[in-house]
């Protein structure tokens, strides 16, 4: 549905602003839309104002935006993910509120509700879960494997830039024009040009394509990092469990992101160039879209949850003061899940007309995933068994996960049965199921990781009390919000419906909105915990770097770590190398000699590509062809010119490394080692006394 030559600004005009709708038709729906747009604008103004007030532009540019340090890139990913999480959660609350308004039409229009569930899904998957998972991985993986950085530090910065620019497109869609109403899956022909001539699906397409490129590059980067950058002696069977899950996740990305790119780009060809891949007429076949999309979509949930499994594996081992039980079986289970995740995509459309045999095959393949997952759950339970368990915040997330995730897994096995799926596939039962695996699975895991590795990243611990409050709020909020949805789903309430007329759904919807409000409190509680922790940071500093009696290499260096991570690259002799060194009394060795360290020099390429790709996407969405062409040429030119730059390395002299490292070693020897009973007290300065009983 192209109509070229629509003027200098393409199809962009004043009607694209939400305020136009408010003036023409003031009602609750428009007020909500305008409030959302206003929040975005106010947010931008506040951020710009604060940065200017505190004169932070220069440090922001010099220390962060141009940094290629994996640690800083990881932190920026997590900050971005938390900002997007706030938007995603609030959208969920608005949706629950709409349904809690009871039978009838509520306060939102159908179109607006459809935009809400489309952005909510898109944001939560692509701009919260993925950046959060790879933000944590960015920070932790090189430290865990004893590396100075990831394999391709500059590419890493570019990945971040592309992810952020596409996330910004979703923010822009709140203010200029409208987002898609086609759900996060954007099924054609509904999202095709014939049904949806507006800009909504185009926002979706370009955000997905650009962030998909960023994610693919990240996947390549981490697969290569873990494969090639491990410290000497770290064989694959000595790799920390978390790194195993990240390498599996990276492999999933390498193979699963292309189907998404293909699906989105073919949809773009249909919309922009009048092709017939997924149209209703002239030989188009929308089932091809369903297959392509879910070839990505199914592995996607495993590339999110596997790293969470890895996080829980580290957390359970550390806070039980035990070696991870059944390491080999966990590795095999992780790999099995990674492979099986590619064999089940068709269960997302059991009801779309394939034969019973095909459905049965995919149903059984789906149920098979329960086996390695079950192995994992038993391994974690056996890790806890007779451990010296401390109920720290990450551990509490882990325990909540163990119980709630099993329920989510079981409802998944129920859904894997095609006959059952025919009854419940498009009801809130399904919504309850995937929130039941994604919240306790992925989100709790990420929050556990945030609490677990925060002292490593910033040099002080997070507040325990507010951490516990946050765990309680997330858990209760999750239960209240999503358990009722199982019931209404079984009662036949369709998902994605902005209104209903069966009064028997209403009580459940009331419980769900109460839960949604508790989740909102949980979100604020995360921020309060951060604020309180920063305020009290002098009492919780852990400069020595090992507050939890950790077992893996990242705990053997200072907190926060120096830019080069390891003064001397360690030689690994054991699976839990640092724990073994502490047992033998060989932790914190004094090196014989120091060497110059080469680090990649700062570059602005990621930021430049972030801006250019953002403008490029905007131009494509609004059909400003000249601008899109200009941006395409500029992006290619910038990359070419950039490859001519040779001064990419920076050398840190051995003398400087020696000075820093010796100062830290002196500090290590000066501190008093604390027992685990004082883990949360100010006495814990990050030097752990190995535990009372040595349990293997």
């Amino acid at each position: 549905m192209t109509s070229p030559g629509t003027g200098f600004f393409g199809r962009l005009n004043w009607d694209a602003l939400p305020v136009t709708g408010l003036i023409q038709n003031p009602n609750a729906n428009e007020i909500v839309a305008n409030a959302a747009a206003a929040i975005v604008l106010v947010g931008v103004v506040v951020v710009v104002g604060l940065l200017s007030w505190f004169r932070l532009w220069t440090p922001l540019w010099r220390d962060w935006l141009t940094s290629v340090d994996h640690k800083k890139i990881g932190i920026m990913y997590v900050v971005f993910a938390i900002v997007m999480l706030a938007r995603g959660v609030l959208e969920g609350v608005v949706m629950r509120a709409q349904q809690a308004a009871g039978p009838g039409d509520g306060f939102l229009e159908a179109e607006h509700f459809a935009e809400l569930f489309s952005t909510h899904g898109t944001i939560m998957i692509f701009f919260v879960a993925v950046p959060f998972v790879f933000g944590i991985a960015n920070y932790v993986v090189p430290l865990m494997i004893g590396a100075r950085d990831v394999a391709f530090p500059r590419l890493n910065q570019i990945s971040l830039g592309l992810t952020v620019s596409s996330g910004m497109m979703l923010m822009v869609s709140l203010v200029v024009g409208r987002f898609s109403t086609g759900g996060w899956t954007a099924y054609p022909p509904y999202t095709g040009a014939a049904f949806n001539p507006g800009v909504g699906p185009d926002y979706w397409i370009w955000a997905i394509v650009v962030s998909g490129v960023g994610t693919t590059l990240t996947g390549i980067n981490f697969a290569v990092t873990i494969y090639k950058m491990r410290a000497p002696g770290m064989t694959f069977m000595r790799l920390p469990m978390y790194c195993w899950t990240i390498i599996c996740s990276s492999i999933l990305i390498v193979f699963a992101m292309p189907p998404l790119g293909v699906a989105a780009l073919l949809l773009a060809a249909d919309r922009y160039l009048d092709f017939h891949f997924f149209t209703n007429d002239l030989g188009g076949n929308m089932m091809n879209y369903a297959n392509l999309f879910w070839l990505f979509g199914h592995p996607e949930v495993y590339l999110l949850v596997l790293p969470a499994y890895g996080i829980y594996s580290e957390v359970f081992a550390t806070f039980s003061a035990k070696r991870l039980y059944g390491y080999n079986s966990l590795v095999i289970a992780t790999m099995s899940i990674a492979v099986l995740s590619f064999t089940v995509w068709l269960h997302h459309f059991f009801t779309m007309g394939q034969s019973a045999l095909i459905n049965a095959v995919f149903g059984i393949a789906t149920m098979l995933i329960a086996i390695p997952t079950g192995v994992k759950v038993y391994d974690w339970m056996a890790t806890l068994w007779r451990g010296r368990i401390r109920f720290s915040v990450p551990m509490l997330y882990g325990l909540a996960f163990l119980m709630l995730f099993v329920i989510g897994g079981l409802s998944g096995v129920i859904l894997a049965n095609p006959t059952v799926d025919y009854q419940v596939h498009n009801t809130l039962f399904l919504v309850a199921h995937f929130h039941n695996v994604l919240l306790p699975g992925v989100l709790f895991g990420l929050l556990a990781a945030y609490n677990y590795w925060f002292p490593k990243a910033f040099g002080f611990r997070l507040n325990e009390f507010w951490g516990r409050v946050t765990v309680a709020l997330w858990t209760v909020g999750f239960l209240l919000t999503f358990m009722p949805l199982y019931f209404v789903g079984l009662m036949g309430m369709p998902r994605r419906s902005f209104s209903y007329d069966d009064p028997s759904f209403h009580p459940f919807m009331i419980v769900a909105i109460v839960g949604a409000l508790v989740i909102t409190c949980a979100l604020f509680s995360v921020l309060i915990q951060l604020w309180v922790s920063i305020r009290d940071r002098e009492k919780t500093r852990v400069p020595v770097g090992d507050p939890w009696d950790g077992r893996t290499l990242e705990w053997s260096i200072p907190s926060p770590p120096p830019p080069y991570n390891f003064a001397i690259i360690p030689t690994v002799t054991d699976r839990d190398d640092f724990a073994a060194a502490k047992d033998k009394g060989a932790a914190y060795p004094t090196p014989d000699a120091y060497e110059d360290i080469e680090l990649p020099r700062n570059t602005g390429i990621g930021f430049v590509l972030c801006v250019l790709s953002g403008v490029w996407m905007f131009a494509l969405v609004w059909w400003i062809w000249w601008l899109a062409a200009l941006m395409t040429v500029l992006m290619i030119l910038v990359v070419i010119v950039w490859t001519f730059d040779d001064s990419t390395e920076l050398t840190i002299p051995a003398e400087e490394v020696r000075k820093d490292h010796e100062a830290w070693l002196a500090r290590v020897h000066g501190e008093k080692a604390v027992d685990r009973d004082f883990e949360t007290s100010p006495e814990n300065r990050g030097l752990a006394r190995p535990d009372l009983e040595v349990i293997t």
């Binding site: 394999a151 391709f152 693919t216 996947g219 390549i220 980067n221 697969a223 290569v224 494969y227 090639k228 950058m229 390498v254 193979f255 992101m257 292309p258 189907p259 790119g261 293909v262 073919l266 060809a269 249909d270 160039l273 009048d274 092709f275 017939h276 891949f277 007429d281 002239l282 030989g283 188009g284 076949n285 091809n288 392509l292 070839l295 080469e598 290619i636 070419i640 490859t643 001519f644 040779d646």
Partner: protein
Amino acid sequence: MKRAPTHSYPGINLGERHASAHKATEVVTFGFWVFLMSDLVYFGLMFATYITMIDAQAGGPGPHELFDLKSVFAQTLILLTSSLTVGLAMLALKYNLPRGRIVLWFGVTLLLGISFLVLEVRDFMAMAEKGGIPQRSGFLSAFFGLVPLHGVHVAAGCLWLIVLGIQLHVKGMTDVVISRVVRLALFWHFLDLIWIGIITIVYFGGLTYG
């Protein structure tokens, strides 16, 4: 001609003294292989789409009316020859021949790449004259989603050849440039492999089945 010491990858003459350069090249080359695997999935899915849509001609022209095997044969010869010339550039690199030799083979490869693209575009134009435009049917959409995608890759390879030729001239045979030459060669051979898939599945498969 002196033989270079043992290599992790053929064609790299970084020497024993440059352990770190070797390591860096190994990492980058491996990363590029992973990227190619990812790209291969793109092509694989476009092949699958083409196969499922081969019958979706919606009454429009099909393979028998549109495909010109003579031109496709010529394109195949040109592309396979270009793989040979890239290989010769790599051999020049491996045996420490003067830089001019690499640039020469790069130039020949570039000419072959461009002639391939010219023939391909002529084919597309001939198809369009017979009504074979991508907007006509699902089959043609799938054809034009796949074959030009390969063409775009070839065009990107040509751009890469030009940029690397300039870098060889400006920077000389630095470790970084050599490692880029290695990756360009990998990429170019990859394009050949995809093309083999295209003649087999798109053209022969189309004519046999469609």
